[in-house]
Symmetry: C2
Subunit: 172 residues, 2 copies
Amino acid sequence: MTISMYKSSVPIFVQFLTSLSALLDKAAAFAEAKKVDPSVLLNTRLAPDMFPLARQVRAATDHAVNACARLAGVDLPTFSNSEASIPELKDRIARTIEFVKSVKPAQIDGSEDKAIKITFPSGATRDFTGQSLLLNNSLPNFYFHCTTAYDILRHCGLDLGKRDFMGTPVSL
Amino acid sequence: MTISMYKSSVPIFVQFLTSLSALLDKAAAFAEAKKVDPSVLLNTRLAPDMFPLARQVRAATDHAVNACARLAGVDLPTFSNSEASIPELKDRIARTIEFVKSVKPAQIDGSEDKAIKITFPSGATRDFTGQSLLLNNSLPNFYFHCTTAYDILRHCGLDLGKRDFMGTPVSL
């Protein structure tokens, strides 16, 4: 079993998106127990100019979706980008998992040298290979937003441990 | 250029350890400008039962060192594990970068199915393959601690952006 672009992407995204969704369940339970509106948690930021929790979750799904769609050369699913409640965010995560699972190994494997040009919202463009997109950009950004979502919830007082972040490896 | 265990580990660790070291430079400059002891930053935690910044940095280096040493089957460098100042932590990061760079592609490539048993401080053991160790354990943990170090500094008020976390890809 050799390492591959597929094994380095889809099962990893599914593992950590699943744990991210479970973190939101714990956030909902925490909010109910503390009698606070869940939006308080979803709007919490670690610094005034950082994304709040809801946006961290959306960003994590974006990096998973974008990586898989660009490597496989398929259309991206569209999201409303206005998901503001825990159920809406969990639905976005579920749709992301469904999408990345729909991409098969043959569509991603061999994409190491594929030329991928990304146009950022600013209009700037950047050229990647499939491999540099996945290893140097998508995965670190994905982990950044998953970790920061966890960090925000820990900072809010949720009783979480590293295991909640790590989740369970999946075989695909 | 195909994806490999080496390309998925050593250059990635070097990229993000280098940016972690640069974050500590910015922390030192911030402390000086604000006339606070750098140890205030190094002892900051996002939750009472999370590691403070200094320990997040040490944990990031641990995951990089452990992954490379175990995949390559070489001895781990030893650290004092008492690094408590910014210069000491930067020295630990520099030694980590030096170590992981000393491991060559031929020592890591092909380690996908290598059986690796890890004994945790609790005495519990867990069996990995080289691939599951790297993809499901070492990299997510490494990114977790690098991100949380960044998040702590942002929470302390440092003027940082995602680019400070991402650093610059390296060719090895």
